[in-house]
């Protein structure tokens, strides 16, 4: 069999395994398989190889989703980091020697309370002085572009190669290129506008980022990624120093049970946002 025939046969096997053969074609193929051991073997080998590729793809997709969840959720300090402040006094009371035991309990309680107060005041002072919109923004933004969850397969029928390039450059984090290509698109969809918005955000072109995310939010067809646009619009406001607007949007997201970024905003982060609002 020459190379072209082999390739045609390989494509026929693909179609057979994908269930794409018509009734007559399928019957003919099954008859051929019954009579041809070598063909049957090739079909089996192809099935194994395909199954391996699918397994690889699935594992990687799940890993990417989990990584995105962690990137969205872990940028903030875990709330447990405050715990040692409360734990400290217990250690003190466990390690007292005989002389110290003679000190009346209320004195110890007073010292512990004073120590605690100092620690809390110190902690609050550090938080307050180091808090800035930039710091809270940096904790939430990652260099990795958020997965849009809009399958590539939905673009099967599109011929707009510029849109494909925007998507690819976005996936690879080439944000300057995303912005350049986006500028060449005549009729960008909400997906490309979101990607451009994220690219603007990464390039600190905040006003354009805000404008892009607002456009996505207003697009009725963009309901699939509305939560993402809302979250990154809030971060864009934060980057822009529009603290009240950003805090109010992020609080709303935190309170909304079915918002996909609800879990990404810890109570500690929200508390620091409120502190930031007081500061500015």
């Amino acid at each position: 069999m020459d190379n072209m025939n082999e390739m045609n046969q390989a494509e026929l096997i693909d179609r057979y395994l994908q269930g794409d053969l018509g009734t007559q074609e399928l019957q003919q193929f099954q008859v051929r398989m019954q009579a041809d051991e070598e063909l049957r073997q090739t079909v089996e080998d192809t099935q194994m190889a395909q199954s391996l590729v699918e397994h690889y793809g699935l594992r990687n997709e799940i890993k990417a989703i989990r990584a995105a969840m962690q990137a969205e959720g872990n940028a903030t300090l875990p709330e447990e980091t405050i715990a040692p402040v409360v734990e400290e006094p217990r250690l003190l009371t466990q390690e007292v020697d005989e002389d110290v035991k003679a000190v009346p309990m209320f004195q110890w309680a007073g010292r512990i309370a004073a120590g605690l107060t100092l620690l809390i005041v110190g902690f609050l002072t550090i938080q307050y002085t180091t808090l800035s919109p930039e710091r809270l923004y940096e904790e939430k933004i990652t260099s990795e572009s958020p997965y849009l969850g809009l399958s590539n397969r939905s673009m099967e029928d599109r011929e707009d190669t510029l849109a494909d390039q925007v998507r690819v450059e976005y996936q690879f984090g080439n944000y300057e290129e995303v912005i350049r290509l986006y500028g060449e698109l005549e009729n960008p969809t909400f997906a490309e506008t979101f990607r451009a918005g994220y690219a603007y955000l990464q390039q600190e072109r905040t006003e354009q980022a805000i404008d892009s995310f607002q456009q996505v939010m207003q697009d009725e067809d963009a309901f699939m990624i509305k939560d993402k646009a809302e979250y990154y619009l809030a971060l864009a406001y934060l980057q822009d120093g529009q603290i009240e607007t950003a805090v109010s949007m992020l609080e709303k997201i935190h309170e909304s049970d079915d918002h996909i970024y609800e879990d990404s905003l810890s109570s500690f982060y929200l508390w620091r946002l409120r502190l930031l609002k007081m500061k500015y």
């Binding site: 391996l52 699918e54 799940i62 309901f223």
Partner: protein, 205 residues
């Protein structure tokens, strides 16, 4: 304004439908993590595992679960929570056996049928064989891996693949895919024992 929002919470039936029919696994996988990760992680941590083990084995459990669902072997006799927990528990037990370690604390959570247990064991077995062969894809080369993933995993048509990969024509992409598939098959042939295991699993499955 359209009030439809991206779905973030699912009933068991909706999870199955999304895995079988939705093109986007992102929201359903997030749902599975949100609702099941902690209980599985607690089990693993209570049985000599650490946080990293919990992450690895829960991820593996999701892969096994999705494969069971896609094969039509999840019958809904027990809840997804119970089923997923059972997969993770079996995976972790196998791991401890491999390390010659015993379970510290066993929870009695056998709310599933014997048939379900059998399906889980078979799928875990298949998963392990495939995992052993994954290194082949790692050594296949980036372009080959990419074109095979785009075609067989993403199910993209060749006319889109050749543009995305930057090939001049669709025919070039078809040739490339053909060569890469043959390369992968040759690599499989270099591991006859594993290939035989894989074949018997596919035949029985």
């Amino acid at each position: 304004m359209n009030n439809k929002k991206i779905q973030t919470s699912y009933t068991d039936q909706e999870v199955i439908e999304a895995i079988n029919h939705s093109r986007d696994l992102d929201p359903v996988v997030r749902h599975l993590y949100r609702n099941n990760f902690e209980s599985v992680a607690n089990y693993i941590r209570s049985n000599s595992g650490n946080d990293e083990d919990a992450e690895d084995f829960f991820q593996e459990a999701i892969v096994v679960f999705i494969n069971i669902v896609r094969k039509g072997n999840f019958r809904g006799d027990s809840s997804i929570k119970t089923f997923l927990y059972s997969i993770a528990r079996n995976l972790w037990r196998n791991e401890l056996k491999r390390q010659n370690r015993a379970l510290m604390r066993e929870t009695n959570n056998n709310d599933h049928t014997e048939k379900e247990e059998q399906d889980i064991q078979e799928s875990i077995c298949e998963n392990e064989v495939k995992n052993q062969l994954l290194q082949l894809l790692e050594t296949l080369g980036e372009n080959c891996r990419k074109i095979l993933l785009l075609f067989y995993y993403e199910n993209l048509p060749m006319k889109e693949i050749f543009q995305r990969m930057g090939y001049e024509t669709e025919q070039v992409a078809r040739n490339m895919k053909y060569r890469c598939m043959n390369k992968l098959k040759d690599m499989l042939n270099e591991h006859p024992d594993m290939k035989q295991n894989f074949r018997s699993l596919l035949t029985n499955g």
